[in-house]
Amino acid sequence: MPAGQHRRTLTEMDTDEHRHTVRGLVDDPTLTYRQRVQALAIAAENTLDPPPVSEACAAAMDKRIVCDMREGHAPYRPRYTLPDYELAMRQGSAFLELAPPTTFDDATTFLLALYGNVPSITGHPVWFGDLDHLLTPFIDDLDDDELRARLRRFWVLLDRLFPDAFAHANLGPEDGRMVRAALAVHREVRQVVPNLTLRVQPRVTPDDLLLDAMRTVVAVAQPHLVNHPMMVADLGDRYGVVSCYNSLPVGGGAHTLVRLDLREVALLHHGSSERFITDTLAPQAELAAELIEARIRHLVEQARFFDHSWLVHEGLLRLDRLTAMFGVVGLAECVEHLCVLDGQPGRYGQDAHADALAQRIVAGLADIVHSRPMPYCEATGGHALLHSQAGLESDVGLTAGTRVRAGDEPDLYRHLLAVAPNHRHVPSGISDIVRLDPTVGGNLQAAVDIAKGALAAGMRDVTFEVAGGEFVRITGYLVRRSDLARIADEQTVRHSSSVLGAGSFTNAHLDGRTAQDVTRVRSHEFDGAGR
């Protein structure tokens, strides 16, 4: 958004500008009807003044040091909601006039009705729930063929009714007929919706299920893997993975996500990296926290979402299950700049001293975020949660979250061991992408080995991508290569996320991501990678 717009009231000039924006949206030939309605709603919301913040905070937003993720000026629903679908299915819904389901078809119908009434920042649900847990009670009288046929219809509806790759379903960590059917259907329909996560727990998730997951990764670049014991330790056992890879409490979610651009913060710093955290990072982080607080207060106290939502009335969302997300981007660029200030140039992912500095910054920022009191965040100890934010489509030359820059990834082990120590500091989600060579399809156990090693090394989320495939992992969600081509050709595409994805793909040089050739990785072949 243009500089200064945050604090001004709507002047006559702004009115003209607003009319111009609305006219542009009405006339835009590349938007579907639903995408147009969503964009018009944001335009209408943004005629209001944003929640008031200090001069310093507003200035940081103008300089894009702190970013409100274009959530809109008047937060009127939590950014991410994770309704307690299990409770809903047990008690039925008065609002939806639905009794508790008793058959598989009842259950999927019930869920689809619920999904259609779930608010979020995208206009679509960002979470479909723990689908294997939700549906397993209804599969006893279905044989495998019958189950797959019914699940396939459900899967098709998820994609066609909620065409947004941030809509995320969770599976595992236990094995079972339902999780196997879901993976099989997912391989078969080749959709970007739902985004998919498999929870993995040593000694609970069998290798054979991981092999099936990797078979699915090779086919359609999903599921993500999440370190279940680590998540349970941080968020309790009732958590969900939503949107890209954001882990949040079930029955609640995140009021808002504000992000801090570490590259911009580093540019404000003078002197050596020694005092970066206390002198420069801490005060800028406080500005981001101030914005989070202002937005939460608007949502809860002004828009009063928790007073009027039917999801709250039926106990499916509870204010005491909400938290907020403190996002961070540009760690790679931040570290590179500070290394120059230290007179010892280095790149995160390439040089040990840069890796160590990266870890120090992430740990320091986690301390700051997790000790700053935040209203209405009782679910997570009264503070926001640090999140490795996966990027915006408009980011140019800025590396997502705490990732190593695309193209700078060192050999497989060094890459994973360099990023793993950061994961424990980032409870609401952090993901590093491992791009595999397609030949790993001939030896899926090799991919399972790498996944297990990554989780054992302390990674929270592991995301695989197969080089050159039809499915491209943008930040935490997928787009199809064929859709990118259609967007470049100014055609309409069905998935709203694909429109965002096209910008990211071009601006973040994602095609340059280093494929980890696990056919045979010779370490010396990667010495010069990306330089």
Binding site: D411, N443, Q445, A446, T519, R520
Partner: protein, 252 residues
Amino acid sequence: MSSTALVADIVPASCVDGPGNRFVVFLQGCTFNCLACHNPQTIARAPRAGPADRRRVDDIVDEIAEVAPFLSGVTVSGGEATCQWHAVHELFQELARRPATRRLTRLVDTNGDADPIVWDALGPVMHGAMVDLKALDPTIHQFLTGRPNDRVLASIRQLDALHRLHEVRLLVIPSVNDSRDQMAATARWLGALTSQPDIAVQGFRSDGTRPAARAFRDARQDDLEVVVSRLVDGGLPRERIRVAGVTTSQHG
């Protein structure tokens, strides 16, 4: 006091040298001089120049231990691994001894041209061997490798008896070692093994080979399918045959 090994190359992550993700140590030196060898620089036992590196076995184990959580196991290949079987023995013994590496499977990728004493020594410290069988016919074998195959066949039988025969690999060079008769005889011979090892069918590819291999044609997928059907006709169960594709064979 750790001994040393002459190492041609180390590949810390491989998905084509046995099951799962494997750390592969390629040892320098080979008893064969295969026309189709993809890494002819690894043949010389005492190379005057080249990339070979004398490494302490302990240091190699240190390197493996660091990345052990990402691995199914370790494969020693070559060159010909058994040329330095004392070092292989020590490497495997050390891997079995250390807690960080104990769970890793230990495999040898070999041309099979080794004395019985080698397998008697390695048998107790390894999980298995993957043996290349270049040709069952001694004349074709001599032509392809410069050596007879009696020791190779004896090695396969001995490993079979020791229950250490992980896999037999057939490198298919079209029109050279893939005739119907050859494949039928090979199937019968392999079928008589008691431990029923997996049979991997690999296609020859000319990358990296010397000029002498130019007379050979690269194997295509359909060449491999013909070989598989000939092996099945010869009595090998289809489910034991794995088509490893047209990837390079380390031993050529």
